[in-house]
Each structure stands twice: as structure tokens, then as C-alpha cells.
């Protein structure tokens, strides 16, 4: 259970303004928002990468300010960027990050094998990552995040720049982890269809504010989620709520 109350964060200008949100244990929350909405900033705060300015965050009853270490141990963060070493092989990357999680010996081997499996990387685990395709890199990025068998998994746009096959594979993997390990997953994306496909709950963030949060079914059955052809889609709702203006034009 993650509770966020009145979270505030600014750089040069306010980026998160009074964000309140809760995530149910064992659920997948799809965090949807246009470019610059503050998705990465929110996740970075939750994972202890950057500091918030004010507000209160608890994870499973642990306070983020006071018990960050304990929280970090049960979480894992898969950054939006491909966060690994290009000059190492997939195997060496997994070994390195696994060791940093404090894994060693047999346990480390086991977890690495599990991650290689789940990323379906058996054939190229010993190849250098800079020779990987986009899809392979994304799968490795995700796999590294599973090394510590996290209770809570933060995925920041895990499917950017991959083909349909890899994307499907990744989405299925995410569902599988959630189903089998009861992992709580927070998943950001600009892709409506992805969010529709994987998440239990949906939150839409725009310009630093949560403008909609609720159960996926409830949201999709809203009247204003019906498009011109009579289909209920998130896209229609999303555009309506965030309006069609381009976001990175300031």
C-alpha cells in the first residue's frame, strides 16, 4: 500500500502540485500523462532518487523520510532511460546489479537465471549490450529491475522504442509478475492502449496534478470515454481531460 498525500516538488517552476494518490497492494497502477507532466519526477521521489519538498509518503506503513532504506530494499526502479552498461554483456550487467543488491553465490546465480529467463535473453546473455536491438535492451532494462524480487516495482515507460512483439512480451511479463509474485506495480506511459491492457487502476497526471484516479473499469465506462465510433477508449477521455494542446511547447 502506497499513500501519497499533498506532495509538492519544484525545480525552476512547480512540477508536482499537491499530488495525492494511493496504490493498492498487489495492484497495477497505470500512470498516464503527457510529456513533462511529472511522471518521472513522481517515481523518482517514491524511489528515493530525488527529494520531495513537502507532503507525506508512506509505503506499507513506513515513512519515506525516516525509513527510506527499508522502503528501498523492497522496491525496484526501472528507469525510463536504458540504465545499464553498454560495454558489458547482459550477463555481466545482471551480475553487477545483483551484487549491488547484496546477492551472492548460489542465490545470485538463481536470480540471474530467473531474470534471463523472464527477459527471454538466453541466446544473447553473453553478448555485449551495445550490439542489442531496441527490444532486447528494453527487456534487459526490465530484467535488471527484477533481480531483487521486489514487492513494489516502478516502471517508467518500459516499452519506449520497441516493436509490437517485444512490447507485447514486456506487457505480458508485467502481468505475469503481478499475478505470480503479487508485486505492486506502478507503470507510466503515454500509450493509452498499454495502460488499458495491463493496469487495474488508472491515474492521469497533467501539469503536476492528478486529474483522474480510479478503477479501470469504472473509468472506461464513463460517458465521456466514448469516441466518435461509439467505442469506449481511454484515449478519448485522456484528450478531453488534458486538452489537445502540445505540452512541451511550454
Amino acid at each position: 500500500m502506497i499513500e501519497i498525500n499533498h506532495l509538492y516538488k519544484s525545480y525552476d517552476k512547480p512540477v508536482l502540485k499537491d499530488v495525492s494518490l494511493s496504490v493498492r497492494r498487489g495492484s497495477i497502477l497505470g500512470l498516464l500523462g503527457p510529456n513533462g507532466a511529472g511522471k518521472t519526477t513522481l517515481i523518482s521521489i517514491l524511489t528515493g532518487v530525488i527529494r520531495k519538498e513537502s507532503g507525506c509518503i508512506t509505503v506499507d506503513g513506513l515513512d519515506l523520510d525516516r525509513e527510506l532504506k527499508a522502503i528501498q530494499l523492497k522496491c525496484s526502479y526501472v528507469p525510463q532511460a536504458l540504465a545499464f552498461y553498454r560495454l558489458l554483456t547482459a550477463f555481466e550487467n545482471l551480475e553487477y546489479f545483483g551484487a549491488l543488491w547484496g546477492l551472492k553465490g548460489k542465490k545470485l546465480k538463481e536470480r540471474m537465471e530467473f531474470c534471463i529467463d523472464i527477459g527471454s535473453m538466453q541466446r544473447f546473455a553473453k553478448k555485449r549490450v551495445d550490439k542489442f536491438s531496441g527490444g532486447m535492451k528494453r527487456r534487459l532494462n526490465l530484467a535488471i529491475g527484477l533481480l531483487n524480487d521486489p514487492e513494489i516495482l516502478y516502471l517508467d515507460e518500459p516499452t519506449v522504442g520497441v516493436d509490437t512483439q517485444s512490447r507485447n512480451y514486456i506487457l505480458e511479463t508485467i502481468r505475469k509478475i503481478n499475478r505470480e509474485r503479487k508485486t505492486t506495480i506502478i507503470y507510466t506511459s503515454h500509450y493509452m492502449d498499454e495502460i488499458e491492457q495491463v493496469s487495474d487502476d488508472i491515474a492521469i497526471i497533467d501539469e503536476g496534478k492528478i486529474i483522474l484516479h480510479g478503477d479501470k473499469q469504472a473509468i472506461l465506462t464513463r460517458d465521456d470515454a466514448v469516441n466518435n465510433f461509439g467505442h469506449r477508449t481511454l484515449e478519448k477521455l485522456f484528450l478531453k481531460l488534458t486538452d489537445v494542446r502540445l505540452r512541451d511547447e511550454g
Partner: protein, 409 residues
């Protein structure tokens, strides 16, 4: 502990696979050491043994000229190239002159027939001059004087010793110790080379200068791999991942320092081995190491610490790898030029020697020279190590302040 091992492994793999880093850290200094040790061999040896080639013909009828030539050789300043003795005494001058011009000698020495007679003051021609020197007029006066006074000196000694020999039986009667009367073989003038830092009886040979100089220089180029990994870690989100994994600040900084300390240590070993084993194979002189292992380790570790700290500061302050490698590279070149890497400090004018003291590379280089050249020990390199250490601590503190302000650690 285990973590550090995996961090070491990772950084090593990254460096081994980074061809630029390998080139700059290992190949560049090795090549420089080879080239400079060989190319500047003769330049540096002006201070050791100058070699002036002299064409010579020995017409001496007696035996004294052999001792004379041997004594001249022992000076290790001249190389005598003897040509065949000429039977017809009046043709000697013409023949040697012809050869001197043909073979481009600057000097030719004729040891005349009467040489032994002159030395022993006995026989035909005992009062005539026993040596004739032919000089190419293009030769500078100094060189000519060096040769002339050496010839005069050795001749005088030989004549004096011969005199003592003749008086040999009389000396004990007069209560004089014969040993004490013979002229000393070695020069009685003790020479010291003086420059700002102090007073040394040795000047580095080409290899003694090149190895520590290019070693220190290349150790500072650790800035290349450090920026490459550190900046890409930041750009590619790896640092975010590490931070979310609750990797401690200490582990992050140690993870950056420890592997590169080791890389620097490997550089030290390889470059010293180059000087000791490879340079002599190619015709240079061998590097001598002095005898203070402790001092060597201390100065090497201090250079390494300050180089890595400076690299970390540059890598943290720069936004892109290009920026870091440019700033780092230029700074290293300036430190190198200033610090006596490219131009040895002892040939710099006084004010430049003062300036050189501002370069950390100069502290490192002088430390290594203390060990290799001046047989220094731990206490001799301690001040330089201390400077380097303080420099490193300042750089590291600035790095931590900068990274904390940016919220990166």
C-alpha cells in the same frame, strides 16, 4: 566487501573494452617513454659522458703512449679512433689530414715518435712537443679547450709519474711515501648540479626522466575513463538506478576510486618495467629504481589519489563526456608542460622552475625522481606526497559538495 569486488570487476571490464582509455592510459605513455628515452639519450648524456670523436695515430716508438690513451679513454669523454701507424714519419700529417676530412672528424691527434722519450725525459726528441692536434676550424673553442686541457692534464700526470718512478729508489731514503707522491687518477673536483629544488650529484638520464614523467602524465589521464563511465552513468540513468538501490554514498565514491587506484598501480608497474627491461633492449640505458619500495608506493599512491580526485571533480562538473575529456585533456597538458613533464625542470630558467611548483604533476615527478635518482626514502617523498594528498582531498571535497548540491549522491 563482496560488492567492492564486483564493482572492481565491472570497472575493469569497462576499461578493458574502452579502446580510447587503453590507448591513453597504457599505449601513449609506453610509446612516449620509448621515444623520449631513445631520442633524448644523447642530449641528456651531455651531463654524463660526452662523446667527442677523435681520429688518432700513434707513432710512439716507446710504450708510454698506451698508458696515455688508456687514461684518456677512462675519462669517457673522448673516443679515439686509431688508424694504422705510418712508417714514413714525414707522411703522417698528410695522411691523417686526408682521413680526417674524408671521414668528417673534428679532431685528429698525432702521438709523435718521441712521446715515450718525452715522458721519460730520456732519448731522442725528449725536449720536443710529443703531441700534435689537428682541429677542424668549425669546432667551437670550448670543445677544443676541453680536449686540449684533457690531453695536457694526462700528459702532465704521466710525466710526473715517470719522474717519481725514476726517483723511486731515492724516496724512501728521504722518508717520503711514494704512494702519496703519485698523482690521483680521478678528478679531484667534485661536481654537483644545482637547481631550485636543491643540489644533486646526479642529473636524470633520458630514461630516468622519461619514465616517471610520462608515468605521472598518463596517471592523470585517468580522467578519460572516469568521465566516460561517470557521465554515461548519469546520462543513461544508471546513477538513478544505483540511487534507488540504496547504494551508500561511501560505496559510490569508493566504487569510483578503488578500481582506478588499481589501474594506476598497473600503469606504474608497466611503465617501470618498460624502463628497466624494454628501453635497454632498444639501445637506451636502463632505469634504476633506487632502493625505497615504501617511498615508491607512497608517491605512486599519492599521485594516483590526486589524479583520481581531480578526474572525479571534472567528471562531476562537466555535462557531457566531450566536455570532460576536453577540459581534462587540456588541463593535463598544461600541468604537464608546466610541471617538467615535457621539458625537464632542470633545464628551465629559475622563474619557470618556480611556476613548475604549482603543478601537481611536478610534485609527483619530483617524488619519483627522489626515489629513482637520488636514492631517497619515505621521508624524502613525504612532503610531495602530502601536497598531492591535500590537493586530492580538496578536489574530492569539491566533488562531494557539487554532487550533493545537484542531488546526485
Amino acid at each position: 566487501m563482496i560488492k567492492i569486488l564486483y564493482i572492481l570487476k565491472k570497472e575493469f571490464l569497462l576499461i578493458i573494452r574502452d579502446i580510447h582509455a587503453i590507448t591513453v592510459l597504457f599505449i601513449m605513455p609506453a610509446v612516449f617513454i620509448m621515444i623520449m628515452s631513445l631520442a633524448m639519450r644523447d642530449l641528456f648524456e651531455l651531463h654524463g659522458a660526452v662523446s667527442i670523436d677523435v681520429l688518432a695515430v700513434n707513432q710512439d716508438a716507446g710504450k708510454k703512449s698506451e698508458a696515455f690513451l688508456k687514461a684518456m679513454d677512462a675519462l669517457r669523454t673522448f673516443r679515439f679512433h686509431l688508424i694504422e701507424k705510418e712508417a714514413a714519419a714525414d707522411k703522417v700529417a698528410d695522411k691523417i689530414k686526408e682521413q680526417m676530412l674524408a671521414r668528417d672528424y673534428k679532431f685528429a691527434l698525432i702521438i709523435k715518435e718521441n712521446f715515450s722519450a718525452f715522458v721519460e725525459k730520456n732519448g731522442k726528441g725528449k725536449d720536443e712537443k710529443p703531441l700534435e692536434l689537428l682541429v677542424n676550424p668549425a669546432v667551437n673553442v670550448q670543445t677544443q679547450l676541453v680536449l686540449k686541457s684533457a690531453l695536457d692534464g694526462k700528459l702532465a700526470k704521466l710525466t710526473w709519474d715517470a719522474f717519481i718512478d725514476r726517483m723511486g729508489s731515492l724516496l724512501p731514503l728521504a722518508g717520503i711515501d711514494r704512494e702519496k707522491m703519485t698523482a690521483a687518477e680521478e678528478s679531484l673536483v667534485e661536481v654537483h648540479y644545482v637547481y631550485k629544488e636543491g643540489r644533486y650529484s646526479k642529473i636524470p638520464s633520458a630514461v630516468q626522466q622519461s619514465v616517471p614523467a610520462w608515468l605521472v602524465f598518463s596517471m592523470f589521464f585517468i580522467v578519460i575513463p572516469i568521465s566516460n563511465t561517470f557521465i554515461s552513468e548519469r546520462e543513461q540513468g544508471t546513477l538513478m538506478r544505483l540511487k534507488s538501490m540504496n547504494v551508500s554514498r561511501f560505496c559510490l565514491i569508493m566504487g569510483k576510486m578503488a578500481p582506478y587506484l588499481l589501474i594506476n598501480a598497473i600503469q606504474v608497474i608497466i611503465m617501470i618495467a618498460m624502463g628497466v627491461y624494454i628501453v635497454p633492449l632498444c639501445g637506451g640505458t636502463a632505469l634504476t629504481l633506487g632502493d625505497s619500495m615504501g617511498g615508491l608506493i607512497l608517491i605512486a599512491a599519492s599521485v594516483s589519489f590526486s589524479a583520481i580526485s581531480m578526474a572525479l571533480l571534472i567528471a562531476s562538473a562537466a555535462r557531457t563526456t566531450e566536455q570532460a575529456t576536453t577540459v581534462g585533456g587540456v588541463l593535463n597538458l598544461i600541468f604537464g608542460a608546466l610541471g617538467g613533464i615535457m621539458v625537464p625542470k632542470f633545464v628551465m630558467p629559475g622563474f619557470m622552475q618556480d611556476l613548475a611548483n604549482m603543478s601537481p604533476m611536478s610534485w609527483g615527478l619530483e617524488g619519483f625522481l627522489d626515489i629513482f635518482l637520488r636514492n631517497g626514502n619515505v621521508s624524502d617523498v613525504l612532503p610531495k606526497s602530502l601536497y598531492l594528498f591535500i590537493f586530492g582531498v580538496v578536489m574530492l571535497t569539491l566533488t562531494v559538495i557539487l554532487l550533493r548540491r545537484r542531488g546526485e549522491i
